[in-house]
């Protein structure tokens, strides 16, 4: 898959049977909708499959960051905030193809997780925790 930021070919990181697309140049991560559903499904039995649809409904975040295009459908993605205090600015494909985490945002998120691991067990937090686990060595 092509990185929506720097247009280079991303590598695939498979961890605990979940695949993530990762750009080695900018450090960004693409979380595909199908993989996201599988990940949430493997963590719990009920209430899966709704998460991405919920994230799409989150309010649009005001940001000066450039709009990114979904690497799957090519349409512009929506900026929104995932998680609480301080939250991570992410891009979500409103056609439901997946989520994009910028390299810088991911690094911040990881730093924050090291300081205070997320205790809340809602779905956005689970996504953040999972990313933190996979990109353990990425600071």
């Amino acid at each position: 898959m092509i990185c929506p930021v720097c247009k280079s070919d991303m590598i695939v990181v498979e961890y605990k049977d979940i695949e993530l697309d990762h750009c080695l140049d900018c450090g960004g991560v693409w979380f595909d909708a199908g993989e996201l559903a599988l990940m949430l499904q493997s963590l719990e039995i009920a209430g899966h499959g709704l998460c991405l649809a919920e994230i799409i409904k989150f309010p649009e975040a005001i940001s000066s960051e450039k709009k990114r295009r979904c690497p799957i459908c090519g349409h512009r993605m929506k900026k929104t905030i995932l998680g609480k205090e301080p939250g991570t600015l992410i891009d979500v494909c409103d056609r439901g193809d997946g989520l994009w985490f910028d390299g810088g945002e991911l690094a911040q998120l990881l730093k924050h997780l090291v300081k205070s691991p997320g205790k809340e067990q809602n779905e956005p937090q689970k996504i953040i925790n999972f990313l933190g686990e996979v990109f353990h060595a990425q600071e």
Binding site: D9, V13, D17, E19, Q41, V134, F135, A137, Q138
Partner: protein
């Protein structure tokens, strides 16, 4: 060949002939309008048709597979799928193993192609491989191989070429007509003062045909295609001896609202379910290429045996009109009573779960897309795109540097 395509299906043949007639008439009328000579138009129509036929015959399957962005796989890429196709190939009595293609798309769909039964291909989407269990997959593959075995692919290709010719002719004629009206309209009307009435009638007929012919041809095309779906369902039940498998696959296909990205109108009848179906769409109308899924499921579920005659009985029971069935007599008499089998036993070979099926399918796709796989000692697996440069990569999970 004709005997098998049209075996007792005089209706299909009549519909195809009607379509051919439509082509002849539109060619003739357009010729009359443009050159004042019907034969000229007729010849042009036939030449266009012949060219499209040649292209369709020799290149049709590769064009279709290319348009669907299908990737060919081998036995090692996806053993489970290969195995199911092999089983169904034996059950259907096909002589040669069809090529197998995967379409990287989360929608659930499948189609078969190939002009003759020894050079056929079946394509399934990756979503289908992830969501269906073995019995369901068998039902779907059985349905597709039945299309190949019943020569539906050839019939539908011919129909779609006829349809394509009619659409192309009407489209270009309307552009030319428009252009003439803009540029040379005044000149023709002044030079041909007399005979205006005849000219006007031809113009009216030509206009009418240009609008109606593509629509009529499309309706005929859809009618032919719907009929073949029932027969393919019945054949699938016969091959698998387990109609519930296909029924439950159709349930899953019907419940999924994901649309296939690479489908278009001309290729729609090739798929197992209509790729353009929307939620809550009234499926049972003239313009649908497939019978409503709910009806196909009810027929399959009502079957007490696996023979085509049993399918026919179930069809009549659902429709309750009495009278005629849907399966040609030759297909019924060819097979006696066949009992159903039980669902695949859970013991023995373990059925892979959704997670395993997903990994199995994406493994196959990475392989055909030539990604390199690297396993890190920490258990993380990295896949590098074919264009990857550099000789080492750092594992993002444990931080080890792995040389490629």
């Amino acid at each position: 060949m004709w005997e098998q395509i049209g075996s007792n299906q005089r209706k299909s043949v009549i519909l195809v002939v009607a379509m051919a007639l439509l082509l002849v008439v539109i060619g003739y009328v357009l010729g009359l309008y443009f050159f004042g000579n019907g034969m000229g138009g007729l010849i042009i129509a036939l030449v266009v048709w012949a060219i499209l036929n040649l292209v369709g015959y020799f290149q049709g399957d590769s064009i279709l597979l290319g348009m669907a962005k299908a990737k060919k796989i081998s036995r090692d890429d996806h053993p489970r799928l290969y195995n199911v196709v092999e089983e169904m190939k034996i059950a259907s009595g096909l002589e040669k193993m069809p090529d197998i293609y995967i379409i990287d798309d989360q929608a659930l769909n499948a189609f078969a192609t190939g002009r003759d039964i020894n050079k056929a291909a079946v394509a399934v989407t990756s979503g289908l491989l992830e969501k269906l269990n073995r019995d369901e997959l068998q039902g779907v593959i059985g349905h597709e191989l039945a299309h190949i075995k019943n020569r539906d692919v050839l019939l539908m290709t011919m129909c779609s070429i006829l349809l394509g010719t009619i659409v192309i002719l009407s489209w270009y004629a309307s552009r030319v007509m428009f252009f003439n009206a803009m540029v040379g309209g005044r000149r023709t009307s002044s030079s041909q003062g007399g005979g205006g009435a005849a000219q006007l009638i031809i113009l009216a007929v030509a206009l009418l045909l240009m609008i109606l012919a593509p629509i009529a041809a499309q309706l005929i095309y859809f009618a032919v295609s719907r009929k073949r779906e029932y027969l393919a369902d019945a054949s699938s039940a016969l091959y698998t001896r387990y109609p519930d498998g296909l029924a439950s696959a159709l349930e899953k296909l019907g419940a999924s609202t994901c649309q296939l990205k690479s489908a278009n109108k001309a290729t729609a009848p090739m798929y197992i379910v209509n790729p353009f179906r929307k939620k809550g769409m009234a499926a049972s109308d003239l313009s649908s290429t497939h019978p409503p899924i709910s009806e196909r499921i009810r027929i399959l579920r009502a079957m007490g045996g696996a023979s085509p005659s049993e399918y026919d009985r179930a069809y009549q029971q659902i429709h309750q009109k009495g009278g005629r069935g849907i399966i040609p007599g030759s297909a019924i008499s060819a097979a006696g009573a066949i009992s159903l089998r039980a669902a695949s036993p859970a013991a023995g070979k373990k059925e892979p779960g959704e997670m395993q099926r997903k990994r199995e399918t994406s493994d196959a796709l990475w392989k055909v897309n030539k990604y390199r796989t690297i396993d890190c000692e920490c258990g993380t697996r990295l896949r590098l795109p074919p264009g990857f440069r550099g000789n080492r990569v750092r594992c993002p999970h444990c931080g080890r540097t792995i040389s490629v």
